[in-house]
Symmetry: C2
Subunit: 388 residues, 2 copies
C-alpha cells in the first residue's frame, strides 16, 4: 500500500507507463476555449510534432480516446458497414485478435492467425491475398505487446501494396520507441497511443491517413462510426479544431511529451528504447529465464516490452506480487498467457536507473523463492549493455 | 493574450468550464495500473457517486470520450446497424440534430424537428409515435445549450413509455446542475459529460442503462460500435475495470469533482445553478437585452446557460472580443445562430463572484459601444437575485 499511498510506484506496464513530472504538471493547466485560436495553435503544433515522430507527410489527427478507439477509426472508416468489404487480419497475439474483432463489425474478415508468440508466416499472408479477390485492407499489429514481439511491417507492407490493399498498421506501442518510418514502410493508416512510447498518460490516440487511404475512405458509402469519422476530423482540422470536444488536459500533456521527444531527438530515443529492451533481455537471460516469443528471420524481439516465461518454482502472484511490494508494477500474461509469462515494459521517458531498479527487484524476488541462488548477475548484465 | 499567458481566463462556455484548482491538481497524480485493485476501487467509487448525481439505481459506466462518444454509445447500442430499428429524434437545437445524425448511422430515423429555440410541440411527438409502428427509442436533449433551453423530459418520458419505446435522454449539460431524477423520469439511457455541470475538464462521459434498456441491448443482433459496446463495459465492470484503457488522469479528477458535489449536496448544487442562471437572466433583462428561447408551458430557460440575442449597435466580434480582452470567455451562437446570439454558461463550481465579474464586463463592453448608456444596472440586478 505504501507506494500507492505516496503515489510513488514505478509503473513498467506496456501502457500506461510512468509519466515524467514535466508532463504530469502540464495536465493541470486550466482549460481553454477549444474553439479558440490558442487551441488551434496547440493542436497544429501537436500534429506537426507527431508527423516528425511518425516520420510521415500524411495527415494526422488526434482522437480523444484510447488506442482501441483509433483502431476502430482505422478499420471502420476504411471498411464501412454494408459493403461486405474484405479485410485480411493478421494476428499472433491479443491485439492482432482485437483488430479482427473490430473488423468483424465492419466487413468480411479473412483471418490469418498464428499461435500467440509465433512468427507470422509471410507465405500464409500471401496465400490469403492471392486467393481472396479485392481485399480492401490488411491489418497488422507492429509491436505485439501481449507476446513481446515486433512483427515484420516492411514485408507485410510490400505484400499489401502488391495486392492493392491498404496497409493498416497498429503502431500503438512502437511509434516513439521503435523506428517506424510510416511513409517508407508504405503504411496507409498508422495509429499510436498516448500512454506508451510517447510517455504520456492514457486517453489520447493519433491516426495518420495516406492519400491512398483517403481515396478509399472518401468513396466509402458504408456506415462509419460517428465519433471516429475521419472525414469529420479532416474538415475540422482545417480550422485547427476537433469535430467533438477534445480532452484538453491530455492535449496539454501531449504537446509537452512531444517536445521532450523533439529535444531528445527521435533517433536517440529509438536507440535508448532499443538499449533498454536489450538490457532487460540480457538480464533475464543471464538469470537463465526464457524469453517468450519464437522468432524467425523477419520478426524481432520487441524494443519496448520484454515477455518472459514464468520459471518453475514461483507463481505469477508471487513474482508480480513481490515486485509490487518493492514498488514496481510489471505486467502478467493476458488471457491464455495468464500465469505463464510476465512482461517488463521499457517505454517512454524511463531510464537506465529504472531498469536497474526493476532487475534488482526481480532478482530479489526470484532469490527469495529459490529460483536463483544468488543475486547480482542480472543487474550486472543489464549495466554492461548500457556501457555504465 | 495576457490572460492566456498567465493561464488565468474565466471560462464561461457551455463546456468546457473553469475548473477548480482542487480538481486540476488531481489530474497530475501519477498513473497507476488500470487493471489493479486501486483503479477498481476508484472506478467503483466514481460510479457510486455518479448514481447519487444521476439519482438512479441503474448501471452506470464511464467512457473515455466526450459527450458525443456517449451519445453514440446510447444510440448505437440500442439500435444496432442492420435491423432498420426506428427511432424518433426530437430536435430544437444543434445537439438534438446531432443525435439525429448519429441515429441515421444506426437505424431508421423519424425526425420531429422545430426551429432552434422554439418549444417542442408534444402533440407532434405523440403523432409521430402514433403513426409509426414499433419505434424502438425516442431521443431528446434535456438541456439544449445551443439555444439555452430546458426541454420537457418528464412529458417526453411519459410518451415514450406509453408507446413502449426506450427513452434516451442527453443530460450532458443538465446532470449535476439541474434536477434530473433519472429513475423518476423513466429515463432508460441518460448521459452526462465531464466538462459541464460536474465542473471537470473535458474527456470523460458517463452513461446510465436501465433494466428495460438492457433487455433491448442484449437482444440486439445488429452491429454496435466496438469502443462504445455497453455489453463489454458491463462485463468489465464486474471486475471494476473498463474494457479498454481508461483516461486515468481524468478518472482521478472525476472522483475529486464528484466528492465536491457530494460535499456541496446535490440539492444545494442544483439550487446554486438555478440562482446563477436567474442572476444572469435578471442582469440581461435589466439591460433590456432579449433572451433567445421562446418558451411554452412545458419548456423552461436553461439553468446552466443563458442565450441572449446580440443587440443592435454591436457585433458578435465586438461583444465577445471585448469580453475576452477583459479575461472572460463566453460563447457565441453555433451554425445558423452565429452572430445572432451570445451565451453565458454558469455551470460547475463557479460562483456569484464569477457571475458578477462577467456581468460587470458585459456592461462595460455594451457601454463602450453605446448599446447601453450607463453601467451598474445589470450587476445590481444580479446581485439582488443572489440576496447579496
Amino acid at each position: 500500500m505504501e507506494y500507492s499511498r505516496t503515489e510513488n510506484e514505478l509503473v513498467m506496464l506496456p501502457g500506461p507507463v510512468t509519466v515524467s513530472p514535466r508532463i504530469l504538471r502540464a495536465l493541470s493547466k486550466p482549460v481553454i476555449n477549444h474553439r479558440g485560436e490558442e487551441f488551434a495553435a496547440l493542436y497544429r503544433e501537436c500534429v506537426e510534432l507527431l508527423k516528425y515522430v511518425f516520420q510521415t507527410g500524411n495527415d494526422i489527427f488526434v482522437l480523444s480516446g484510447s488506442g482501441t478507439c483509433a483502431m476502430e477509426a482505422a478499420v471502420g472508416n476504411v471498411l464501412g458497414i454494408g459493403h461486405g468489404s474484405k479485410v485480411v487480419t493478421i494476428a499472433n497475439g491479443k491485439f492482432g485478435e482485437r483488430l479482427k474483432e473490430i473488423a468483424e463489425r465492419y466487413g468480411v474478415v479473412v483471418p490469418v492467425e498464428f499461435e500467440w508468440g509465433l512468427p507470422i508466416d509471410l507465405e500464409a499472408v500471401k496465400r490469403a491475398l492471392e486467393e481472396e479477390k479485392e481485399v480492401r485492407a490488411v491489418t497488422l499489429v507492429h509491436n505485439e505487446t501481449s507476446v513481446g514481439m515486433l512483427n515484420p511491417a516492411r514485408e507485410i507492407g510490400k505484400l499489401a501494396r502488391k495486392y492493392d490493399a491498404l496497409f493498416i498498421l497498429d503502431c500503438i506501442t512502437s511509434i516513439g520507441g521503435t523506428d517506424v518510418p510510416v511513409d517508407k514502410l508504405g503504411v496507409d493508416i498508422a495509429i499510436v497511443g498516448s500512454q506508451k512510447c510517447l510517455g504520456m498518460p492514457p486517453g489520447l490516440s493519433a491516426v495518420s491517413v495516406s492519400e491512398r487511404a483517403w481515396e478509399v475512405i472518401e468513396e466509402n458509402k458504408g456506415k462509419v462510426p460517428y465519433y471516429m469519422d475521419l472525414q469529420a476530423y479532416k474538415r475540422s482540422f482545417e480550422k485547427g479544431q476537433t469535430p467533438y470536444t477534445p480532452a484538453l488536459p491530455l492535449f496539454f500533456a501531449l504537446k509537452e511529451a512531444l517536445e521532450i521527444i523533439k529535444e531528445e531527438g527521435l533517433e536517440n530515443r529509438i536507440k535508448r528504447h532499443k538499449s533498454m529492451a536489450e538490457a532487460v533481455r540480457a538480464a533475464v537471460l543471464s538469470l537463465r529465464l526464457d524469453l517468450f516469443p519464437r522468432l524467425d528471420e523477419f520478426s524481432e524481439y520487441s524494443n519496448t516490452v520484454t515477455a518472459v516465461r514464468i520459471p518453475n518454482g514461483i507463481t505469477d502472484d508471487q513474482l508480480r506480487g513481490g515486485m509490487k511490494k518493492l514498488g514496481i508494477v510489471i505486467a502478467g500474461g493476458q488471457e491464455r498467457l495468464k500465469g505463464k509469462i510476465f512482461r517488463i515494459a521499457t517505454m517512454g521517458n524511463i531510464s537506465a536507473r529504472d531498469i536497474l531498479t526493476a532487475i534488482q527487484a526481480l532478482e530479489g524476488v526470484l532469490a527469495k523463492h529459490g529460483v536463483i541462488e544468488s543475486v547480482g548477475t542480472g543487474v550486472e548484465a543489464a549495466r554492461k549493455t548500457f556501457g555504465l
